[in-house]
Every structure is written in C-alpha cells, then in structure tokens.
Amino acid sequence: MVAFEQCGRRYGDVAAVGSVDCAIATGSFVALVGASGSGKSTLLKMVNALVEPSAGRVLVGGEDVSARAPPQLRRRIGYVFQGIGLFPHMNVAENIAIGPRLHGEHLSAARVAELLQLVELETEMAGRMPDELSGGQRQRVGVARALANSPQLLLMDEPFGALDPITRDALGERVRALHHDLGLTTIMVTHDMAEALLLADRVLVMDAGAIVADETPAALLAGKGGKIAQSLVAVPREQAAKLAQIEKAMRA
C-alpha cells in the first residue's frame, strides 16, 4: 500500500529523516514510535505530501505521491492529527462533509449519521458547533471527517495525545475496530509504546531520523528489536510490574 524508497528530509543542515526504506502492506496497522524529534511525524507527512521528501520517493498504491497535485492525493487519504483542527465556523455535519464537498459531492444526512455512528456519537451531534464539544467528542468528529471520503489509507499523527486516558483508550479501541471493519491500512504516529503495542500489528521504532526496529508487538515483548526499542518497551512494562506489585501488596 505504502512504500518509502530511500526517503530523506533535510531542514538546512539538519536531517529530520535520513534515508528510509520500508514497505507497508495493505490492511496492516503500523505504529511509528519514537521520542520527540526522531522524525516519525515527518516520515508520516511525506505520505500525504504535507512534507515533501528532499531525497527518495514515497509510493501510495504503487504511484509516486508527487505525481499528482497534493489536494487530489490528500482527498483519498484520511488524516487525523493531535491538533484535530475542526473548522470552528462549521457545525459537526459540515465538518464531516467537507472532504466530499471539496470535489463537489454533497454528503447526505444519512451518510453523516452513519459516520457519526462509526465513531460512536449521537446523530443529534450533527448540528452542534465544535466549541460545544468535549475534546474526545471533537477527535471522534475528526476521525469521522477523515473517513468521509471512504479512504483506504488512514494516517494518524499522535491522534489521542491530547485526550484523557479513558477517552484515549475508548477511542483507540474504536479506531482499531474501524481499521478492521473498513479494511483500512493505518499508519499511526505515537510516542506511547503501550498504545503502539496494544493497537498495532507492526511497530516501527524511529531514532534520529532512521528506523531502528521493525517488529511485531509480540516480538518486541519477547525482547527483540535492539536497545532503543527495548528501552521504550521497558517503560510500560515497568509500570505494569509496579502496578502488579501494589496489587499484590494490597492482597497480602
């Protein structure tokens, strides 16, 4: 579905992304994990041409992304990001319908209701303005907007980063289910290894602009992927261990 071929991006003398080679199979759920500044967002944004590679190329569905005008490309790709970016002067329904509207298609009320259902929001939400919604509700609308053009590829850049843990968990599960039900290919950038391990079926670990590990969650938990990957896995693992200890102490 997506292939990076010797992709690099420099900003002046700084290489945000080195030379990345990687292929992502149709239907997979890939997490891009790494510390801030590791280049994971930059790599993701090359897929929908929000960032232009300064070297190499990116293929989506076998086609070089630079072959088309960026707006054409982006309309086929769902994009969800931490800032959410709902249009404050449009209500929920108008926000969801914006993608189809851009190429002259009117989204029916029934389709808006269906998309709201997909993200577990009430149909009545359609008439609300973004500033009347909670953060979690807003990002649900953001996901519904990304799905309105029925994309096959969904890009998510720290999608749940600004949400509280409960909302975050529920929305993560929902996205995982949508990925499965709609047959999407999903690439998610996150700095949270636990989220990556729980949602993705393939985890790419990035450091200093390069992919340093490419493993399944099971393999990472089994200790593979090298030092940097393991240091990231260690965080949730130690947290889990400490929680287990506390529970044990309480039972004792």
Partner: protein
C-alpha cells in the same frame, strides 16, 4: 440655534457627495487591501513592503496627500489624455482610498497570521486547494477582524473627506471651510456635526455587521448591510437623480474676497442665463492649474501671484509692465484668457495696530526695519516662502525676533491679541479700516503689485456671451468698495453679511 438647524438642513447635497466619496474610497481601499493581504500572507517580504507603504502614507498629513494628487494626475495626463480629471472626485477618491488602506490591510494580515495552525493543517489535510482554503477557511475566519479594520478605515475616511473641499470636491468640508474663512461659526458647527454624525452612524452600522459575523448571525450582518446600501442608494439618488445641466464652475481660494467675487461673477452669469456652481476653499496653487486645464471655468487671480508662481519671475518691472506680460504669457502658454483687471489691488503690505505704530514711531518699512529685532512678524502660510518676502526682507534688511504662520483670517486676531506685532496684511482687506490698522509705506517699492484679474479657462474663453457678461466687471471695483465688502463678511458683529449678501451689496454699489 435656529440658524444651526437651518444650516444643517441645507447640507443635503454636501452630505450626499460626502457619503458617495467616502463609500467609494473605502470600497476602493477594500478592493486593494484584501488581495494585497492574501498575497502578503503568502510572502513575508510582500507583507513588509505593503505594511511599510501603508504606514508611510499614514504619516503624510491628509491635506498634503489630497493636494499631491493634483500634480500626479496632471503628469498622468501624458498617459491617459487630457480628459483625466485632476481636481474633484478622482484625486479625492485616490487619496482617501490610500488613507483607508492601512487599517484594513493591517487587520487582514494580522487576522490571517493569527489563524489556528491546527485549522490550517486540517484544511490542507482534507485536500483543499489554496483557493478553497482561502474561500472556505481563511476568509470566513478572518472576516470579523477585517470588518473591524474597515470600521476604523470608515471613521478615518469620513473625517478626512471633509478636506476634499480644498481640491474642489464638494463634501461636508464645504460649510466648515466657508465658515472658517468668513468666521461663520454656525456653519462650521453644522459641517462638523453632520460629518461626526455620519461617522458615528457608519461605525454603528458596520459594528452591527461585525457582531453578526462574530456571533454567526447572518441576519444581523445582512440587516446592517441593507441599511448601509440604502444610505448609499439615497446619496446616489440625491447626487444623480435630478437632471444636471451644464454648469459654469467658478473657483474661489480660501479667503472672503474670493468668496464674494465668485458670487458676484456667479450672479452676473445667472443674469445672463447661465447655471453656475462654486468650488470654494481651493488651495491657491491648485486654482491656476485647474483653470488652465478647464477643471474650473472662471477664477479670480492676482498679478503678483501669477508672476512668481507661474512665470517664475522674481524681478519687479512695475504694475503695468507686469500685467501686460502676464496677459501675453497666459495667451501663449496656457490658453487662458485674462479678461481684465477688476480695478483694485490685493497686494501684500505690512500692517500693525495704530497704537503700536504711534508708540514705536513707525511710518515706513525703513522705520520697521529699525524696530524689527524686538518684534514678531506674522504671515499667511505661504508668505515666508514667497519671493516678495525675500525681496522686501533684503531691501530693508529685516531681522525680526520671530516669524509665525497664521491662516489669513487669524492673522488679524493675532495682531489684536499681541501674538504678532506686525502682519503681512492685504491691501484690499476690510479689517485694515475695521481694526484701525496702519499700513506702512514702501519707499523702496520692494513689494510687487497684486492687481485682481478675472481669468477665464481656455474652453470657456470661446464662449462670447460669457465673456460679454463679465466685461462690465473690468475696472469696476475700487479698493474702497472691495474693502467694504470684505469687512462686511469678516466682521463679527450683527452687521456681518454672508458672501452672497456682500456680493449683492457690492453689485449695487458699483452699479451692476
């Protein structure tokens, strides 16, 4: 106060002209500022240049900006042909639009720069082209802030539009300037009140539109817009609704004598069956150019003024030679017709209060030169730049303690209040007798003559009936008659006359 309401109610035409001028200037300002803001938002260097330019324009006094468009448009005639108007609506529109640019541009650029980056990323992310992004996201989100800029621009423009009077565009400045010159404060007040009320009403209506945009209540915005449109529509009807006949345009500079003589000429032409229109309060430099380019049909000018400003001469060949040379020069160079001399001079002279003159023992400019180091001399705004001043200063070796500029009307007040000891008075001025002033003799004949001339534009000079109608004025007005008429308008007691009434009285006195 009944005079105030009467004056206010008489301002319909000026109000309509003011509304149309301001609305056009703001519309043009918006038309230029918005695309510029969009461009500036995509290129920081454009933003820098555009804002820098708009700021620079703001530092030019509005009066100067308006005046500057005269020579600019005059030189543009080389490109656009002789039909390009150099006075009146066009230069006023351009100058005011430039003035309106800054607040609109600045607010539009700031609004775009402050848009939520998340929203802009989303706009790109969902696949908007840059045109869609502008139309669907940037424009609607910036609109309330741009509207605030337009409000500021509107209030500025409506205020500054009163100055359009000085370049021959009718506006609410007409009563203000006319009142200021003839010391008719009711007229000044009426003009100010009308312009302030217009500015406040416009601000309130635009505020309504802005609130509608902010609260996403389109009904409110549309309502405000409808009232604004109705106001402009009414002004258009008042301005162009009635049938307008050809009118002879008579220009007047910014002092009482000019107002009176313009009315005298006007009534003379009306008797001959012409429709006339007055352009009052024109800048002195503007009048001659306006006449020779047919923007004015008739003006009253003075030999000394034309000698230095147009012929660029600094010598003083004497009264008759100067007049003959000017008639020849105008016929050859500008095509304007010098119909003749009215019979009086409005020359520069040095005057001071009689009690002061006696106290200091002053009778001539030679005496004045001796006393000068202890005295302050006052002059009209152009006087100390004029060659007459330089000539007389050098001839008598004047060294005054201080020189001060006053508007012509206020010079006499300055003399009364002691802010000036001696002023550059005008020989035809009624206040010389009225204020009991002494005019100092000029034994060196350093001051040139200023015969009042009737000037007719090249176009109107071809109209024989018009020329014939004005012929009786030549040589008909003595300096005493002119002084009396001027004093009647300038005095501040109950015997004060309007320029129209003074012109009627003058016509009777000289037997027209």
């Amino acid at each position: 106060m009944s005079g105030f309401w009467e004056a206010l109610l008489g301002l319909g035409d000026q109000l309509a002209a003011h509304v149309l001028l301001s609305a056009s200037a703001i519309a043009l300002g918006i038309l230029v500022a918005l695309p510029l803001a969009v461009w500036a938002n995509r290129s920081p260097s454009v933003a820098k240049v555009a804002l820098g330019f708009a700021n620079l324009v703001q530092t030019i006094p509005a009066l100067a900006l308006l005046a500057l468009f005269f020579p600019i448009l005059l030189s543009l005639r080389a490109v656009f042909g002789e039909g390009l108007p150099t006075l009146g609506f066009l230069p006023a529109l351009l100058a005011l639009a430039l003035y309106a640019l800054l607040p609109i541009l600045r607010n539009a650029i700031t609004a775009q720069a402050n848009l939520d980056p998340g929203v802009l990323e989303a706009a790109d992310g969902v696949g908007m082209t840059s045109a869609q992004k502008l139309r669907l996201v940037e424009a609607p989100l910036s609109a309330p802030f741009i509207m605030a800029g337009i409000r500021t621009a509107a209030v500025w423009t409506i205020g500054a539009a009163t100055l359009a009077t000085t370049i021959g565009q009718p506006s609410l400045g007409d009563p203000i300037f006319a009142g200021l010159q003839t010391q008719n404060w009711i007229l000044v007040l009426a003009g100010c009140a009308a312009s302030a009320a217009l500015a406040l009403t416009t601000d309130a209506l635009l505020g309504l539109i802005e609130r509608g945009m902010l609260g996403r209540k389109p009904a409110l915005s549309l309502g405000g817009l409808a009232i604004v449109a109705a106001g402009i529509g009414t002004a258009l009807f008042v301005q162009f609704g009635g049938s307008k006949e050809e009118r002879i345009v008579i220009g007047a500079k910014q002092f009482s004598e000019q107002y009176i003589l313009a009315r005298l000429i006007g009534s003379q032409l009306e008797k001959a069956g012409y429709a006339v229109e007055y352009r009052d309060g024109l800048g002195s430099a503007v009048v001659h150019n306006a006449l020779t380019t047919n923007a004015l049909d008739i003006s009253i000018d003075y030999t000394g003024t034309i000698w230095t400003n147009q012929l660029k001469r600094t010598d003083n060949p004497g009264r008759e030679a100067m007049y003959a040379e000017i008639v020849r020069w105008e016929a050859e160079r500008s095509g304007a017709l010098v119909l003749g001399r009215l019979g009086f001079e409005n020359a520069y002279a040095f005057a001071l209060r009689k009690d002061r003159a006696d106290e200091l023992g002053l009778e001539t400019l030679e005496d004045l030169a001796r006393a000068a180091p202890q005295l302050t001399v006052g002059g009209d705004p152009e006087f100390f730049e004029r060659p007459e001043w330089i000539a007389v200063r050098d001839a008598y070796a004047f060294r005054f303690e201080a020189t001060r500029n006053f508007a012509p009307t206020f010079m006499y007040n300055a003399l009364k209040s002691g802010e000036a000891d001696v002023i550059s008075a005008y020989t035809s001025d009624g206040r010389i007798a009225g204020d009991n002033l002494v005019v100092l003799a000029d034994p060196e004949e350093a001051l040139p003559s200023y015969d009042a001339l009737v000037m007719i534009s090249p176009e109107s000079a071809k109209d024989e009936a018009l020329v014939a109608a004005l012929q009786p004025l030549v040589g008909a007005i003595s300096v005493e008659a002119m002084r009396e008429a001027n004093f009647a308008v300038d005095r501040e007691d109950d015997a004060k006359l309007s320029p129209e009434d003074a012109a009627t009285q003058l016509a009777e006195r000289i037997g027209l």
